[in-house]
């Protein structure tokens, strides 16, 4: 029974330490034990904490500080302008385009990658010849470096490139587009490339989740006369919930911060016309290339704030069930 219990909750239940109070000992020994525990906590976390503070929190503090200045990155920042950089960003139509593009990528990724990955994962979870090869193939794009993927797709999608030739040979010549050169098409092309690149990651996560679905349950369902589809729908999918939610979370945060594939695959003109830029590329274009360092920092802070709020909301409403018990509330 216990073994079933453990496998039923792969995301949370396993690692949760036992909650509840320890039996109270003599006061003095309890104090000594408390003290020892604090030493342990301090001793073990200090190195990590120092690194974290120095390389994460301090730079973040600097970003917020610099974002309040009109600063071109030459000499120390001196011209304090308050929140003007923030208002400027939200007045720039190109930044608003970047927000829209990020939204397209977030929802596009969730809505396309999710179902596709789930379908492929369910298929690959069955036993058949050459399964390992297929599993490897779907994972290859995820292993490739972003720059490689970008350059590769740039060549494939070029005017009269492979995609155009393929469409023409299939008699679908009318579908040929300026895939990376049309202001209205380019973001969808990029969404496709991103999907191709990252769907393998979703599949691998889901396959890991599927391997945790106990065999006894699917067997029992089969004995009860459930079809393959019914088994998936009523047994497998509910048990995959935590995995799916974790993937959604990672995908959302990744999509908000997406940079490299966009940077490599689409040209600078597409970004600065608002057709393909995301918040991250906008930040680099303005912070470094236009040399608006204060402004670039403001954009970085906005990107951080949006990702942070999205993460909090997601945790609060969707991940809550999965992480319950993983947080050692009141267990001391």
């Amino acid at each position: 029974m216990t073994s079933t219990d453990r496998t039923r909750f792969p995301a949370g239940g396993v690692s949760a330490p036992p909650a509840g109070r320890r039996p109270a000992g003599r006061p003095s020994s309890r104090r000594a034990e408390t003290r020892r525990k604090w030493y342990e906590i301090i001793g073990l976390t200090t190195p990590a904490l120092v690194v974290y503070v120095m390389f994460v929190l301090v730079p973040m503090g600097f970003a917020v500080y610099y974002s309040l200045f009109r600063w071109r990155g030459v000499g120390p920042p001196t011209e304090y302008i308050g929140f003007k950089n923030y208002t400027l960003a939200f007045q720039d139509p190109i930044f608003l385009d970047a927000l829209r593009n990020n939204a397209i990528i977030v929802f596009g990724s969730l809505l396309i990658q999710g179902p596709v990955a789930l379908g492929i994962a369910l298929l690959l979870n069955r036993r058949f010849r050459g399964r390992a090869v297929f599993r490897l193939l779907v994972f290859v794009p995820y292993v490739l470096a972003e720059v490689t993927v970008g350059i590769m797709w740039k060549l494939i999608l070029a005017e009269d490139g492979t995609v155009d030739a393929l469409l023409r040979s299939l008699g679908l010549g009318s579908l040929v587009q300026a895939w990376l050169a049309d202001l209205d098409v380019v973001i969808w092309t990029l969404l496709f490339v991103l999907t191709w690149k990252y769907v393998g990651f979703a599949i691998i996560l889901l396959l890991a989740g599927l391997s945790n679905v106990p065999h006894e349950l699917t067997e029992a369902a089969a004995i009860d006369g459930a079809s393959w589809w019914q088994t998936q729908r009523h047994v497998t999918l509910p048990l995959l919930g935590p995995t799916i939610r974790i993937w959604m979370f990672l995908s959302m945060i990744g999509s908000l911060q997406v940079f490299d594939v966009i940077w490599v695959t689409s040209v600078p003109a597409m970004r600065s016309l608002g057709a393909s830029g995301t918040m991250a590329t906008y930040m680099v274009d303005n912070g470094f290339f236009a040399r608006l360092w204060g402004y670039g920092n403001a954009v970085a802070v906005i990107l951080f704030a949006i990702s942070f709020v999205a993460a909090l909301l997601f945790q609060r409403f969707l991940l809550r069930r999965d992480i319950e018990g993983a947080i050692t509330k009141g267990a001391n």
Binding site: V74, A181, L273, A290
Partner: protein
Amino acid sequence: MATKRRAGAALALLVTSALVVAGCNSGGEDEASSEGELYKNPVTLTWWHNAPQDGPGKTYWEKVAKDFSALHPTVKIEIEAIETNQLQRTRIPAALLSNDPPDVFMSWGGGEMVEQVEADYLKDITDQTKTEVANMGKAAEIWQVNGKQYGLPFRMGIEGIWYNKDMFAQAGISAPPTTFEELNAAVTKLKAINVTPIAVGAGDKWPAAHWWYNFALRACSVDTLKKASKDKVFDDPCFVKAGQDLKAFIDTKPFQNNFIATPGQNDPTSANGLLANGKAAMELMGDWNRGTLDNVATDKAKLAKFLGWFPVPAISGSAGDPKAALGGGDGFACSKKAPAECVEFLKYIASPEVQKGYAETGTGLPVVKGAEAGITDPALKSILQATSEASYVQLWLDTAYGSTVGTAMNDGIVGIFSGKGTPEQVVAGMKAAASK
């Protein structure tokens, strides 16, 4: 327990002090040695240039560094070759800010250099380089701020139109166009024989923006351009006129398909790839294009045979000087704290012998009198002649106005190319950026 705590505290202290020491070490020490002590103490010069691709440019700089060390054994030179954009936009600004800049580094002069001088990053080399500057003539002025010299160019040239002589002959164009009417006629003739008349790398923005710069050069008087570089005020209607002229020109459809996504250089699908491989008849570009065309050409011999060059045509009845040209160059500057040997190295690069050797690499035009002998390519020779005949050389506008205005300007111009932007929006964008 107590031992453990002390050990932890010691470790923390060690880590922090190591970091502090590392932080302190990076600056300071390199006190500039006085003239008398030149070459007395061993020094290491760090040198950042923008020729990272294997080719004659990179090899030549390695030789220059080696030769200088052979002449002056106390000087060791450490080279870092970094791609231009990364070098100019991220590496140099960050290094200058961090208090640990390279000793010798790329400089384009213009607005960026003004900012660097104002922040006190650069070494004033006016007194030491009088001979070199005199030998360069007007070219050295771009590396001056308020009459003082802060860097020396090694490459300088004007921009013009590179073209395919064979295609021109096929289309029945007898002589290179000298006015825009003639250019338009040439475009029509080239289209008639199914050739893409002009390749433009609008995807990278600046190659497209250079068309607007040339229209501005023709529409604006020299005084207006000088004033705009200095005061960053763009009220003169000639700047809007430049956009209108550009729009009219784009409407004649002289460019290749999907030019809005075509990269500028160093790629077979880029604009200079199209020219180099016989897929387009013309390209507007600076003197360095000779080297980059070679990089992307599948048949270098064929390229050398058909390649020609002519200056940007004049526009009849415009306020601008028809003999004025757009140009610019690459130079090197020394950071404020660099040892005195750094200036000697700049002078060495600017010496006629080194400049002649540079000219022989065929990657650009040298700036020093006496180095012309090294130029063998006929196209480069015609650029050299046109450069000497130009009545006024305007530095690339994005460099002259600095990165902030320059980026906004280029973005606005690409807006015109995409069909979404207007001539007025270009100027509005420049004004807004100037205040950012």
